[in-house]
Amino acid sequence: MAKLKVDGLTKVFGKKPKKALELLEQNKSKDDILRETGNTVGVNRASFSVEDGEIFVIMGLSGSGKSTLVRLLNRLINPTSGNVWVDGEDLSTMDDKTLREARRKKMSMVFQKFGLFPFRTVLSNVEYGLEVQGEDREERRQKAFNALELVGLKGYENMYPDELSGGMQQRVGLARALANDPDILLMDEAFSALDPLIRKDMQDELLDLQTKMKKTIVFITHDLDEALRIGDRITIMKDGAIVQIGTPEEILTNPENEYVEKFVEDVDRSKVFTVENVMSRAESVNMDKEGPRVALQRMRDAKISSIYVTNRDRKLKGIIHADDVSRLVKEGKDNIKEIIQTDVPTAAKDTVLRDIMNLLTYTNVPVAVVEEGKLKGVVVRGTVIAALSGSEVEQDGLPS
């Protein structure tokens, strides 16, 4: 069961929401509806589900409705129509008391401008969520201490928010959200107010924390690089509606329409694509049962001048070159072991392309993709260039 499920969620701001909803059903545009009814469509029939432990990024430009959408998830804004299910419970029909309980136990929020209480110390800010639940003073203090330690703010407990830098203030915001130990974290442009270097640190830290905590995170951002960096899946919004949902790779390789395409145009793909995305099947010879003639034949068929060598278990042993093999055949020798060169370029499946660029520049053989010592495939320069230039990557490694 999905942790968080959203179905047909719609928000219309204004006095005639009924009329606007009807027009939405007729697929009228946001602008038309504004002209006809004077109402603004905040979110237009959004549907998606977020799995347990997933980082689900909602991204869009300002005015795309992403901040409204995240506020519909905990009903800081009441939806005009549609439903939100948290653990199978419908949030949209909850009475005030049940909703309050859900907000206290199930979901916490981190805000763009931190939303800290300036008159409370860091510790007392972090305690807030537990305090309103009426938790025992000692216990909540302990939990707040732990949360602060988790985000690396140990020792800052008694300072006031305005004595801290932006990055540290947002750590307090994060600690406050974590202190409640919620299942779901709603992060509304949580890192957007920070400068780029700090932002990157915070992203790394969030990913680190996530490997430990396994929360379900809904992360709002307008920054595509950020979305690609931290998202397990990304939703792209435009004019209040969802345009595309997919993994970072899917968004980059298969943009749903021109809007997404324009969006992803300027992305540094080398930071997103991994070796796995561009690797192709490796030609190889098994040194335990195949000789130089087979190797030569195989190279001729594949039109390549060198070939990787593995043993019986497909463990990578090295590479042999065509001229060495020919010499071996001429000399009438049978064992290719003596011409194997063991100094070969290798990479793991999940290495991002940027990290193998250097390797590709200085080697004239394909890079071997290795997993637990076994040869899984190869990466050739052409496929990498094709992938980075945005052409679609085909299974055989040739651009379509």
Partner: protein
Amino acid sequence: MDFLPRLPLADWIDAFVDWLKNADFLFDTLTGLIDAIIESLAATIGFLPSWILIVLISALTFWFAGRKTGLTFFVFLGLFLIDNMGYWEDMVLTLAIVISASLISVVVGVPFGIWMAKNDIVENIIKPVLDFMQTMPAFVYLIPAVAFFGIGEVPGVVASVIFAMPPTIRLTNLGIRQVSTEAIEAADAFGSTASQKLFKVQLPMAKVTIMAGINQTIMLALSMVVIASMIGAGGLGTAVYYAVGRNDAGGGFEAGFAIVILAIILDRLTQSLSKDK
């Protein structure tokens, strides 16, 4: 415009005031209550000999107003001067009237301000009423005040409350409305109840603004002291009032100085209270 008959507004108001007098028992209770507040305050302040109080207030100023020696020195000298001029008793009574009026203003005004902040319709109704209360010449309040509360300190306090309460209401409203959206959203997102949100977030964040309102209320209440002396409220105001009647510039200024000194002390003390975290 002679063809229009003159509107009998004055008659209507008189009729209304007469009608209100039916609620005699209510006004009697209020009179008793306010009188008790003034009496007990005056008795408490007047209980200590003047020199102890001078030292005490100076010390309080030093501790609470950020340890400013200049201000402390001024407070000490000022109070000493008042005592020396023989206005100590009057000052105590004035102080009791001002504190009573301010207390009532805060107790009534802050809840109204909160209500106003939480409800736009209430805000739209109360705002013009506040404008009315503040711009109507303060003397005018004295007339119905006498009708309902007789003469003496009590109608003085009532008139002061009407005249001095608006800033507290206004600034409470403003302070709460100025609390940042994100702080409110944070309070909601963490599952605060309405009263938790009010007491743990909105009021503390509005505190500085509310205190500025209370400070203004105290100043306005003090400014009513002279006016209220016309209906028999005693204290420094009466001294000024008599001096006016006798064309006694020296005596008038003496009592006036005492009021100014009191005003400065009250102002600095309440301002410093609103500043600390």
